[in-house]
């Protein structure tokens, strides 16, 4: 089959690889119909995730059709149209049973990397380096899905492929960001990053009762989409001081909830000195992640407010304002998405017309265009919000 493979920093290639096979009794093989790029893929492509190996198939957000199933798969059948949650849970360990499947004890077959770096090992993720299990990704014609009854979710009748696709990752990640922040009616929620996840977080915050939602970015088309599609007010961080603007918009209190939908490669264009400092330290390995957004959130958030972090971080950050966080009594919530917990709820919102993530798909391309598509996505040209591959043509 054809697959998009990582072969080094900024080196993606479309290659012929063997078809996947059923390995474990709870596996299914999914014929991939749609597979989306994701901002977190850029961390792999840019070489910030150290456990990638040449030949790894990337991609983790996908929809497809089950074409084979293992003998122990109970609830799914061949021909089912499913989305698959990008973060893999076993469905049986204590974490999975308590709705924390991204902390699954069992789904990462290479636990040593994460255990040495983090103390404990989290779940495996499709196409997201060997620290996260080394699973083959979805930018391919077929993919093996383990623990399928738990991770593959049947798409309800009447929900189109385009609307359902992002329930695989962007929608539950954004929804979880809003959900774990404990939003209450009347809250003001600021979201850093108006990409797919950020916009899903904005819409979810509104669904969960936020009175005002503020999206922060610098790309005009993304800010416009955040306004038009996600119902947010917007701030362009290249034009205004974010702290001052947020205080002005909230009566000097600061937002009740600050959501980070950016992660380790934050662009610090609003403060050139800080940006240069972070990039230099990252380049020489003194920090792995650029925490520009985290610093802004800690400074801007109201006293006693909540920071909810779903942008991906990998290692160490420098100049983390712990004093401000402590003395302002902030609450931190964070994590990879627990999509298995949210998929049903999100499909209900989609069916009722409260949520329509399909507009995130600005480009639909064949897999052959993978390398160019990622370049466009990274450089945010042609108003690109998300490229979605259609491996079956």
């Amino acid at each position: 089959m054809k697959a998009l493979c990582w072969n080094g920093t900024n080196d993606l290639r479309v290659e012929r690889v063997p078809d996947p096979v059923l390995v474990n009794p709870h596996d299914v093989i999914v014929k991939v119909v749609l597979s989306s790029v994701c901002g977190s893929d850029l961390h792999l492509i840019d070489g910030y995730v150290p456990t990638m190996r040449p030949g790894d198939i990337i991609g983790h957000e996908f929809l497809g059709e089950i074409v084979e199933k293992g003998p122990e798969v109970r609830y799914l059948n061949r021909g089912d149209r499913v989305i698959t949650v990008s973060v893999i849970g076993c469905g049986q360990c204590g974490h999975c049973q308590h709705g924390e499947s991204s902390l699954c004890d069992n789904s990462n077959p290479n636990p040593d990397y994460a255990r040495s770096a983090y103390g404990h090992c989290g779940a495996g993720i499709f196409g997201y380096s060997h620290a996260f299990g080394g699973y083959a990704g979805s930018h391919a014609e077929y993919i093996r899905v383990p623990y399928a009854d738990f991770n593959a979710v049947r798409v309800p009748e009447g929900v189109s492929d385009e609307k359902a696709l992002f329930v695989s990752d962007a929608a539950p990640t954004g929804y979880m960001a809003a959900d774990m922040a404990g939003i209450k009616p009347g809250d003001v929620v600021a979201v850093w990053g108006c990409g797919g996840v950020g916009q899903m977080a904005m819409r979810s915050a509104a669904l969960l009762g936020a009175e005002r939602v503020i999206g922060i970015d610098r790309f005009p088309d993304r800010l416009r989409a955040a306004q038009m599609k996600a119902g947010a007010e917007t701030l362009d961080y290249s034009r205004v001081d974010i702290f001052d603007a947020l205080q002005a918009m909230t009566g000097g209190r600061g937002p009740d909830v600050c959501i980070d939908a950016v992660g380790m490669e934050a662009d610090g264009a609003s403060n050139a000195v800080e940006d240069l400092y972070d990039r230099a330290r990252q380049a020489v390995g003194l920090q792995t992640d650029r925490p520009v957004v985290l610093r802004q959130m800690i400074e801007s958030c109201r006293k006693g407010g909540t920071l909810s972090i779903v942008g991906v971080y990998g290692g160490l950050v420098d100049k983390f304002p712990m004093g401000a966080a402590m003395n302002k009594g902030l609450t931190f919530r964070m994590g990879q998405q627990n999509g298995q917990r949210y998929a049903g709820r999100l499909f209900e919102h989609i069916r009722h017309g409260d949520l329509d993530p399909s507009y995130l798909m600005t480009h639909r391309l064949p897999l052959d265009d993978g390398p160019q598509a990622y370049r466009m996505f990274k450089e945010k040209t042609d108003h690109c919000l998300r490229v979605v591959f259609a491996p079956q043509g």
Binding site: A3, C5, L12, R13, P20, N24, G55, C90, G134
Partner: protein
């Protein structure tokens, strides 16, 4: 899952006389101090003399002291400390002679979302153990309390006979090797309820009478690695009925002429 390696004497009585005799470690320690003292004396004498002879004595003394401090045997073919070459140990004499006085003890612990009975029964059926310890070829049940464990070994046959000591249903299982074996050891599996209805805490303790490096040479993994891997697999088998894997999955970079560079 967390684990720690505890070096020390075992807690249980030793049916096959682990603690009998003078261990090589004591001889090693005495000889080492002697060599260090001799090296110091030679060095001091050398420094008091002038000319090449004195310099050579000083150098020799320093070398002797350093070698002893590092645990090397300057005039012998074998190490004074831990075995640098386990194969060499194997060629020299029976297992009893190389048992150290202080057994190497490793413990790993994991919480399994299951009742103790299910976990206990899985382990108690020792024929299951090759599923948990990939170092094992098979385990043959000889009687209600005895079994023969056959390891996957590249060279000579490696096996040992195990006898169960204590079988405390759903709580504790202890066993030890009997007879001659290259890997004399004893072990225990302890089960206790995890707080908050989280299942069962499982502790696996392995106490080898040979250095970890020798275990690693023979089994391909250290005692710590063996214990952790066994519990990881036990948890997966009990909780999910399978072992997570990425074996046999497709990847690029190996497809030769089909490879199609796009950038």
């Amino acid at each position: 899952m967390a684990s720690n390696s505890l070096i020390g004497r075992g807690r249980w009585p030793q049916p096959d006389s682990f603690l009998s005799g003078l261990g090589a470690g004591e001889v090693a320690t005495g000889g080492r101090w002697l060599a260090m003292a001799g090296g110091t004396a030679l060095g001091v004498l050398g420094l008091q003399r002038s000319g090449w002879g004195g310099a050579m004595m000083a150098l020799g003394g320093a070398g002797l002291f350093t070698a002893a401090a590092l645990g090397l045997r300057p005039f012998g073919e074998r190490s004074l400390g831990t075995a640098p070459n386990p194969g060499m140990w194997r060629r020299h004499g029976p297992a009893t002679r190389r048992r150290s006085l202080t057994p190497e003890r490793t413990q790993a612990v994991v919480t399994i979302a299951s009742d103790a009975g299910t976990i206990f029964r899985f382990w108690r059926n020792v024929a299951n153990l090759p599923k948990l310890m990939p170092q094992l070829e098979r385990v043959d049940v000889l009687s209600a309390t005895e079994s023969r464990w056959v390891a996957k070994s590249a060279g000579e046959d490696l096996s040992w006979r195990c006898v169960l000591d204590r079988v405390d249903e759903d709580r504790l299982l202890t066993w030890h090797t009997v007879g001659g074996t290259a890997l004399p050891h004893r072990a225990s599996l302890m089960l206790s309820p995890a707080p908050g209805d989280r299942g069962t805490e499982v502790r696996l303790t392995l106490v080898y009478r040979v250095p970890a490096i020798e275990v690693a040479a023979l089994l391909g993994t250290t005692p710590g690695g063996q214990a952790e891997e066994a519990l990881r697999r036990l948890k997966q088998r009990v909780e999910t009925g399978e072992l997570s894997t990425v074996e046999r999955q497709p990847r690029g970079g190996t497809s030769g002429s089909f490879r199609e560079a796009k950038e």
